[in-house]
Amino acid sequence: MASELDIFVGNTTLIDEDVYRLWLDGYSVSDAVALRVRSGILEQTGATAAVLQSDTMDHYRTFQMLERLLHAPPKLLHQLIFQIPPSRQALLIERYYAFDEAFVREVLGKKLSKGTKKDLDDISTKTGITLKSCRRQFDNFKRVFKVVEEMRGSLVDNIQQHFLLSDRLARDYAAIVFFANNRFETGKKKLQYLSFGDFAFCAELMIQNWTLGAVDPQADDMDMDLDKEFLQDLKELKVLVADKDLLDLHKSLVCTALRGKLGVFSEMEANFKNLSRGLVNVAAKLTHNKDVRDLFVDLVEKFVEPCRSDHWPLNDVRLFLNQYSASVHSLDGFRHQALWDRYMGTLRGCLLRLCHD
């Protein structure tokens, strides 16, 4: 006595948050039913497995119908077919665009192309996230990327306007788009300790300070692309390490200021030149796309790892970086103060965030 047809349509569309989560997580109907059974819902409600099966199918069908609209969230708001209270609409959208940390770490900085999409099976195997869910998340990234790619104005605002995401999630997407556009390498082994949050934090700082939008709010792609002129100019910073006098002077200024304040003073003193060289060379190399992609690898290699091997406490890192940036202002021979601030201001923030275990 199998049901040929079994549907339930409410004037207000019923959304079961638990089932929605299962659907988003890519479980098949039967898996979802099994999981729900395990959650003890049958005992709580006195329902039978058949009821649960029918209910789950029904919700899945609804979600499938909604999915088309979720691809363009403003459509969900204006469509007439499903009557959904605004708070529920927001929940549907937010959850649909939410992503798994494990997944995003795999994809972050990769080109959102068909090639990457083919690798989703591996990612799925590796992360334990279902392929379906991986696809949804990947497609979300790609969709957002495509829509905001050519737009003017703030990246976060654009995302928020076109996808109606919360501020928080819109910022995350801005980071994802930014990383994908600039193809920053994040997958290397030595970067594995970094979370998506770390990268997102850096991305935000970089968007604010290093992109075209930072100087010209009217520019196309303003928040997506790094300011090429700025990167070009960064070569000028090389003088800080190339000029031995300047380097020594810089070191003495920093050491004087920090003497007695740093637990790892001696290590700092011994390492100063290496560290400074590292940071300045990173800047100087950013004219090459390849080196831009390796930015985080370089930062970790040149700065984070040395600090870590000497067991610098975070506070010492902070004091050092502050002093290191500030002292440059006292270097009379150095003329690129503004450039330095634009560079170091952001980098200091990023480095502090990157310095953890």
Binding site: L5, F8, T45, A47, D55, M57, R61, L80, I81, S87
Partner: protein
């Protein structure tokens, strides 16, 4: 002549991509009305075109305005080939034709295509300038208001209730015309949609003309249905109740009747001035004496045959009834005469209303129903739909005579339906026989109602239960007792009705949904043989359905059914019966006896044991149900009951009763035994099955209640959250060795599982009640059973319940007692209840059913199977039925409801204190509900009737998610289109919403499916009570609300 229709096409949005090359669309719009067409410019390359057209003006007759829909077609312009249609919007402009409704239709409408579904939206503005037409011979009936609501709409009061109006129109079904072979499915679907739209318009106009003739100004309880007769044509028919309504305009005016949920309204009228308006006929005399019993199924065959003589019989019955005794015998007679004269002029004294102004319903006699099996033949001349008219006339005549047999001059809660399979059609009609108060029925001076009211000391809650027929000349064997409420009149022991529970009825505990489900196999046959086979089965089905209902009712410990709806559906190889009703315990009726099982072979020990085990289970279930539904009628001591209660009598074998004369009935009644027990004799496996199935119905999970009436008795503190839904299930029966038992089980499981699913899905709304649960069953193909349910879940506040109930009950008690003190001997008792009960001994039931499904052709004339009554055949039916061995003994139980324990007065006490300000005040939320009200809100304006018909077809069923995906999407689209039309009228809700038809056909092999859906309802504007208060205090002059608002605020 006189009307100018103006249409403006503003913009479109979310259009589909029609040009793959550019991913864009070059859209333009054709606006068509009658034979005139206008076009907008082509808006190039956009999915969101802004046409901003000029006003297209159509100068048309008002006749056309009523008949024709406005047809808007969106197309994609193509330079080289034919333009592609994107989709259409049909707009019914009827709501613009009467003054109090909408003045403009403006908003976004989904663009609908019968193959692709909704494809974007279009923004349209429509206005009508009407000129007055004084032509007396006009064919139009503009200005008549239509309501689907089956009670007097909330912001109106009934001045006169004129009565029954009906009409039907027929046409060829475009789907079966020769041209259909060469046109696309889309063209054929659109031709059908358009034709039905036209026919509904025409039908409405014709009904309107009839109303004008009766000098009414509105049709209430308007029910329009389609019969897709296939080859033989398409019938659109409608019934309704013509009324003269007055808009309540002064704040002081209260609605007379309707069961409006808002508590204030109810109390006030009760209190101050119960029926402020409408007393039209002069001397209304005390009505109280009449007693009615309802016989659950209609009729009694004997009388039905002699319908002509019934007329004369009836009055006699009234006067002769012993109970009429002391008070106002003469008055009563007078009353009767008046009523009668008021009603006699009418061919059919039928009312489609299910809830009435206070005082309107005097007594209720019981359910009357009639069925007829017909063979469909091609309708040769669509302008003269005589055969169909004649068929219905026959059935109505039978209903009328059944009502007379019950001593009633009117039928309320009347409805008609059909079930068609191939060329066989079952026509059914049912209603509740009743005696009405004439003052609503006639024109006349409106008198001080107070006076009048005092005169008629109709006990508040029990009057309607009193039997209307003559005790000595009962139409069927019923067991009568004195009313447990007023103690003066006789009441039956069980009462079945098709109406809603009257507002003032005294009920103990809560009600519940009761269903009887039944399948019967039938041999496949052709034409007349088939019709005969069906006719032969019908009486058995009706009998069994009633038996099941009765058993289930007893099992619930209840004594009355409201909202009874019995549907018999016909398929190729089976018949299905589904009866739904809401069981309640009426305080005026005796406590139902238990169910006793009797074995056939008492000698067998293990068998005995088995029997006693079953008996125990049944007893336990009854006890459990009593607790569950809070049924605890107070025990009454003998003295109180005193003499008026006659010796309990027992009826040994009811089976013969029908044909017996009245004196015999009395004789039969002489038995003793306090408990009225219902004996189920288990004499074969069938009976065993029946008992088992009785016990398999699972009660809803805690926190859930369900009923198929508007309101759940015993719950009165609704909160504002509502969820209307439609659920459809189709199961395929395995064709192997189908037996009746297996079928029954499958069907039963189907319904039970469906209910369980609903409870599960709506669990977040607990505590809540499923109201107006409407099941329809159909047999679309061999081995397929389709069940469609529409209902609304309403949350209520558990905590408030007790308190509110108490205060209300108290209040009403006080009120009632003050009102009635002078007149009533037992004032206190009065207020508490009126519970009609209705004895329906099963025996009689089957008799009734036998007669009711008069489908049995005594003679077959030409093609149609005749539907005459079978008095003569009855006896043989009775014999057959006797074999079924159902014995009933009845005794009476003496119970009286004491004042203290009076149950809350039904719906009167809606308290919505808690209704929170509506959370989502977003523009565009449109509520839909099958009820006539919206909890926690007040309807301030009726904008017109919504009556829509859609066809959806697909040739890519799999791609659309299979049958479930297809139908799910379609129903969601239908809801969306209804909401859009309501919003465009300026409304924010549809009340009395009903899905009248949902015909689904599939052909999975061809990857095709088709579905037809017909829905209707009333578009309204409502205001939340919480908002209302604010509005009225702050700006009393505000808009349109003051009229109704004022009343509420005063409390």
């Amino acid at each position: 002549m006189p009307g100018k229709l103006k249409v403006k096409i503003v913009a479109g949005r979310h259009l589909p991509v029609m040009d793959r090359a550019s991913d864009l669309t070059d859209a333009f719009v054709e606006v068509k009305f009658g034979n005139t067409t206008f076009k907008t410019d082509v808006y190039l390359k956009s999915l969101n075109p802004q046409w901003n057209s000029e006003w297209f003006k159509f100068e048309v007759d008002d006749e056309d305005l009523q008949d024709e829909p406005l047809q808007i077609t969106v197309l994609d312009h193509d330079t080289y080939s034919a333009n592609d249609a994107i989709g259409k919007v049909y707009i019914d402009i009827d709501p613009l034709l009467y003054s109090e409704a909408a003045t403009v239709i403006s908003g976004w409408f989904p663009i609908y295509d019968t193959i692709h579904g909704i494809r974007g939206e279009i923004n349209v503005v429509v206005k009508v300038d009407l000129f007055n037409d004084l032509n007396r011979f006009r064919q139009s009936s503009c200005g008549i208001k239509f309501f689907c609501t089956t009670s007097i709409p909330k912001c109106y009061r009934a001045v006169i209730i004129h009565g029954f109006v009906e009409e039907l129109v027929v046409n060829e079904d475009p789907e079966y015309q020769w041209i259909d072979r060469i046109r696309t499915p889309r063209a054929s679907n659109e031709a059908r949609q358009r034709l039905i739209s036209l026919m509904s318009g025409e039908l409405q106009r014709k009904i309107g003309l009839k109303v004008l003739e009766m000098r009414g100004n509105a049709v209430v309880g308007y029910l329009q249905c389609f019969d897709l007769e296939g080859e033989s044509g398409l019938v659109v028919r409608a019934i309704g109740t013509a009324c003269t309504l007055d808009k309540l305009s002064s704040p002081a005016a209260f609605l007379p009747a309707c069961n409006s949920p808002s508590k204030e309204m109810k109390e006030i009228p009760f209190n101050e001035d119960p029926n402020p308006n409408t007393h039209s006929s002069g001397p209304s005399t005390p009505l109280k004496n009449q007693t009615y019993s309802f016989s659950p199924s209609k009729s009694y065959s004997r009388q039905s045959s002699s319908s002509d003589t019934d007329l004369s019989l009836t009055p006699k019955t009234g006067m002769g009834s012993g109970s009429a005794g002391k008070e106002g015998g003469p008055f009563k007679a007078l009353l009767r005469q008046q009523t009668q004269s008021a009603l006699e002029q009418r061919e059919f004294p039928f009312f489609t209303l299910t809830a009435f102004p206070p005082g309107f319903l005097v007594h209720v006699g019981g359910v009357v129903s009639a069925r007829s099996v017909k063979l469909l033949d091609r309708i040769h001349n669509p302008d003269e739909p005589e055969t169909r008219d004649a068929w219905w006339a026959e059935i109505r005549q039978e209903i009328k005579s059944h009502a007379k047999a019950l001593g009633c001059h009117a039928v309320v809660g009347y409805s008609e339906s059909t079930s068609i399979c191939e060329e066989v059609c079952i026509l059914s009609a049912s209603g509740t026989a009743a005696v009405l108060n004439p003052r609503f029925l006639q024109d006349g001076t409106v008198e001080g109602c107070l006076e009048q009211r005092l005169e008629e000391n109709l006990p508040a809650g029990c009057g309607f239960c009193h039997i209307p027929y003559d005790e000595l000349n009962m139409p069927f064997p019923a067991h009568l007792t004195y009313c447990y409420n007023c103690r003066k009149q006789k009441v039956p022991d069980v009462l079945f009705t098709t109406i809603d529970l009257p507002m003032d009825a005294a009920v103990i505990g809560k009600g519940c949904l009761i269903q009887a489900r039944l399948c019967r196999l039938k041999k496949k046959a052709q034409a007349e043989a088939n019709a005969t086979a069906i006719s032969n089965l019908l009486p058995f089905m009706e009998y069994e359905v009633h038996t099941q209902l009765m058993n289930k009712l007893k099992l619930k410990g209840m004594n009355a059914l409201f909202g009874l709806r019995i549907q018999i559906s016909v398929g190729e190889n089976m018949l299905m019966g589904l009866a739904s009703a809401t069981g309640v315990y009426l305080a005026a009726l005796p406590t139902p006896g238990g169910i006793q099982i009797a074995g056939k072979t008492p000698n067998d020990g293990s068998y005995e044991q088995h029997i006693s085990h079953m008996q125990k289970k049944i007893n336990d279930t009854i006890a459990k149900n009593k607790e569950l539904y809070e049924i605890n009628p107070p025990e009454i001591c003998e003295e109180i009951i005193g003499s008026p209660i006659p010796e309990p009598r027992q009826r040994s074998r009811l089976l013969r009763s029908q044909s017996e004369s009245s004196d015999e009935v009395t004789e039969l009644d002489l038995s003793h035994g306090k408990k009225d027990a219902f004996v189920l004799e288990i004499d074969d496996t069938d009976a065993m099955e029946d008992v088992h199935s009785l016990l398999t119905d699972v009660p809803p999970p805690s926190g859930f209640y369900s009923c198929n009436t508007e309101i759940m008795p015993g719950i009165n503190n609704w909160t504002s959250e509502i969820q209307m839904f439609t659920s459809v299930r189709v199961i395929r029966l395995s064709s192997l060795n189908l037996t009746n038992q297996a079928l029954n089980k499958n069907f039963n499981d189907l319904c039970e599982n469906l209910l369980k699913s609903l409870y599960f899905k709506l669990r977040s709304m607990i505590p809540c009640c499923l109201c107006h649960v409407n099941f329809t069953v159909s047999l679309p193909e061999d081995e397929l059973i389709q069940v469609t349910v529409t209902a609304v879940a309403i949350t209520f506040d558990k905590n408030q319940a007790l308190q509110t109930t108490k205060t209300h009950a108290e209040k009403s008690l006080q009120r009632a007692s003050t009102d009635n003190e002078e007149l009533l001997q037992f004032p206190l008792e009065l207020c508490s209840d009126s519970l009609p009960s209705h004895p329906f001994p099963p025996a009689k039931e089957h008799l009734e059913s036998a007669s009711s499904n008069s489908g049995i052709p005594a003679a077959q004339r030409a093609t149609s199977v005749d539907y005459s009554s079978f008095a003569d055949r009855c006896s043989s039916w009775i014999e057959l039925i006797k074999l079924k061995a159902q014995t009933i003994r009845r005794g009476s139980i003496k119970t009286t409801v004491t004042v203290e324990k009076a149950s809350p007065v039904g719906e009167g006490n809606f308290r919505n204190r808690s209704s929170p300000p509506c959370a989502n005040s977003t523009v565009g939320v449109v509520k839909m509900t099958p009820l006539s009200f919206i909890p926690g809100a007040k309807i301030t304006k009726y904008l017109g009737i919504i009556n829509m018909f859609f066809i959806r077809e697909t040739t890519s069923l799999r791609e659309e998610g299979g049958v479930s995906g297809f139908l799910h999407a379609f129903i969601a689209e239908v809801f969306a289109m209804v909401r859009a039309h309501v919003a465009a009228l300026g409304g924010n809700a549809v009340v009395s919403y009903i899905m009248k038809q949902c015909v689904f056909m599939e052909n999975p092999n061809k990857n095709q499916a088709q579905c037809l859906i017909n829905v209707s309802g009333d578009a309204v504007v409502f205001v939340r009570e919480s908002e209302l208060e604010v509005v009225s205090t702050q700006q009393p002059a505000a808009t349109c609300q003051p009229s109704c608002t004022g009343g509420e605020v005063t409390t």
